[in-house]
Symmetry: C2
Subunit: 239 residues, 2 copies
């Protein structure tokens, strides 16, 4: 993570330049970059080196390349973000798309635990979003989402929020989520779970504690999801 190689390959430097441009929003989501050739010329490297950079960013899902068309800023579209970071499914079955039940948002001072998890300063404020998501008509997931208010000014006015928040983060606030760290545990349904999800107290609940990281490696979102595990699973492939 914090190596000092003492040697910095050319493609690494070029990579950083391109990442910086993407993070600064030089190109909009869905927009095409200049061609491999012209970028290589502009940055004074060979086409092969430029390709290595663009291929790496494609592997990280920051860019998309389409033969014959061009290189594009990857869009966290609803469907795409859905399948990438939303991993709830029926057992042995296909992925699901939730619909919105209820939601609420407010801005307030960050609590100690929130400052720790999101690496915020002492006087930071956060946006707290609480929502219930339905699957096939029934309430299934209760989420509490904490965002640094400074990074998402006015997001609480975007209600109703889109199904995939990461699309909004990218298009509305220039924040591109590239990774999430999740910790899953089993817990028993609380009174709140009962009220919001309609499950009996003491039923098993799958709890997902997630930190989302953006292109510039900032911790951008803390989300705790409580899933009615009766007929839902968290599905993932490890490679």
């Amino acid at each position: 993570m914090s190596e000092t190689p003492g040697y910095r390959p050319l493609y690494r430097q070029v990579y950083d330049i391109v990442v910086r441009r993407v993070a600064q929003g030089v190109w909009r989501p869905g927009e095409a970059l200049p061609s491999e050739q012209s970028l290589a010329r502009e940055l004074g490297v060979s086409q092969g080196t430029m390709r290595k950079v663009l291929d790496a960013l494609t592997a990280e899902k920051v860019l998309e390349r389409r033969q014959g068309k061009g290189t594009f800023i990857a869009e966290n579209t609803q469907e795409r973000a859905q399948f990438r970071f939303f991993r709830i499914a029926h057992p042995g079955g296909k992925r699901l798309t939730p619909s919105l039940g209820t939601e609420a948002a407010r801005v307030r001072a960050a609590r100690s635990v929130e400052r720790d998890r999101l690496e915020l300063t002492r006087d930071a404020r956060v946006v707290e979003i609480t929502r219930v998501r339905h699957i096939e008509g029934a309430p299934a997931i209760r989420e509490v989402i904490i965002l640094p208010a400074a990074m998402f000014p006015g997001i609480e006015k975007h209600m109703p929020l889109p199904n995939s928040l990461y699309t909004l983060y990218q298009s509305g606030f220039g924040v591109t989520i590239v990774a999430t760290h999740e910790e899953l545990s089993a817990q028993l349904a609380s009174g709140e779970d009962h009220r919001h999800l309609g499950i009996t107290v003491g039923a098993p609940v799958l709890v997902i504690d997630r930190i989302a990281v953006d292109l510039t490696e900032r911790k951008v979102e803390w989300r705790v999801s409580r899933v009615n595990s009766e007929n839902l699973v968290y599905a993932i492939t490890i490679t």
Copy 2:
């Protein structure tokens, strides 16, 4: 998955050749392959194309490349397999290494559900391994592992089994696990969980249902792990 490109790049053909050799055990785990140069010469391609193949297999963790030393068959060593496929940790903390509690193995006819999950023929036999794993001295995980007996002849005689079975699969049976598909759910502790893990009936248990896939895309292992979720989580990073 089942595309018919109508066009087959050279590196793809070379890739298949190398995969076949690895699967056939032409080189042993930990052993060095011939150098990039000599492989390229032997297979009649340029060094650049050969590199593309070896880099791809390195990304899939089938090979390992070490500058100045050579290209090696990746070993599913205890530690490595441990960190790659064993994802149990303390909340917010470091990964853990379990130790063996009790274990038992027997060979029997496959049940219907096992034939389905492992895509076995009607008369197939399986090895059933049951074991309890301890973390920091206390029983924490109960696993039931189902293997196709034909693929692992005599594995039940290897008791006590190593902590990481995937190391044994590779070194003892030439089976290299390259991916797992997992489905996680929350359940309540059963009487069996109480007996084996010492937790109270009705406590929350994290259940991991895993199918492991080998280099040749065979479904090689079905494993159900029941984890005492009181002080343990399943930690994963999605990129």
